[in-house]
């Protein structure tokens, strides 16, 4: 597709393609952001599932902000790496699966935030169901992402 080819021809892609340091650093930034994202999401979800006591986790507001920040960094670093070989990645089933899982996980995140807006410590079957779905989805995102390099 044309926009994928254009992305591959972009200056960003050109710079990353040939770099010995920048690409591994961007890659490391992606891993770091995912570490933050999965950790913060897991803490939020385990608290909602009542597996962690309230005193064991920082405030949900703080965790949610960290998660959103980490997602943005992961998206920026991910897009940079995607740009280098955009058409190849776009053709990969596992890459497309990862994007679908991210969309579902983000939707789940927003749904939770809307449904339980203003509640400091949500609980109950619906909250627990969404939290469990969140854990499964973000873990799926991580696995699909890692498999991009191996399948």
């Amino acid at each position: 597709m044309e926009w994928l080819a254009a992305l591959e021809q972009s200056r960003l892609a050109g710079a990353l393609k040939a770099s010995f340091y920048v690409y591994p650093l961007i890659n490391a930034g992606h891993v770091l952001a995912i570490g933050f994202l999965v950790t913060t999401v897991t803490l939020i979800d385990l608290r909602v599932l009542a597996i962690l006591p309230a005193r064991a986790v920082p405030s949900a507001t703080l965790l949610r902000r960290l998660a959103i920040g980490a997602l943005l960094v992961a998206a920026a670093t991910g897009l940079s790496m995607f740009a280098i070989r955009a058409s190849d990645y776009a053709a990969m089933g596992v890459f497309r699966l990862k994007l679908v899982l991210i969309a579902l996980a983000a939707f789940n995140f927003v749904l939770f935030a809307v449904l339980f807006r203003g509640r400091s410590d949500p609980s109950g079957p619906l909250a627990a169901g969404l939290a469990a779905t969140s854990l499964a989805l973000w873990l799926g995102v991580l696995l699909a992402g890692r498999f991009i390099a191996f399948v």
């Binding site: 280098i84 596992v94 699966l97 779905t133 499964a136 390099a149 399948v151």
Partner: protein
């Protein structure tokens, strides 16, 4: 609650099924390749020396093969840069073919262009 539980059991299963079914870039490792050496001869259709891995697209009697090389560092250290060959050059790639016989893909340890030999994975290159 019961429906939700079934849903998140289904996700990892769907993921595993999707992973098993799909071909792709195959950057890392050799687990996806055959053990014995495979030799491919053809005409270079595209050269890519960059992150995360260098690749050649090789035309063999009208069919395009994807030849995976090493990451750019080792590939360039072996002497193979984007200027080492041109589209249209004849190339011989020696390495390991994908386990999937329907997939036109291999990982090369050695490529030969003209009278030049480039061992991009010197530790794995054939000794003869």
């Amino acid at each position: 609650m019961a429906t939700v539980s079934r849903h998140h059991m289904a996700l990892p299963l769907a993921l595993a099924a999707a992973l098993a079914a799909l071909p792709a870039l195959a950057h890392h490792g050799w687990s996806w390749t055959e053990d014995g050496f495979f030799r491919l001869e053809g005409i270079i259709a595209a050269i890519y020396v960059g992150n995360p891995h260098a690749t050649l697209d090789v035309d063999v009697e009208g069919e395009t093969w994807r030849v995976e090389l090493a990451p750019p560092g080792p590939t360039i250290r072996a002497g193979f840069t984007e200027d080492a060959a041109r589209v249209g050059d004849e190339v011989v790639a020696i390495g390991n073919r994908s386990l999937d016989p329907g997939e036109r893909r291999m990982k090369a340890v050695r490529i030969i262009v003209g009278d030049k030999t480039y061992d991009v994975y010197p530790n794995r290159a054939p000794t003869n």
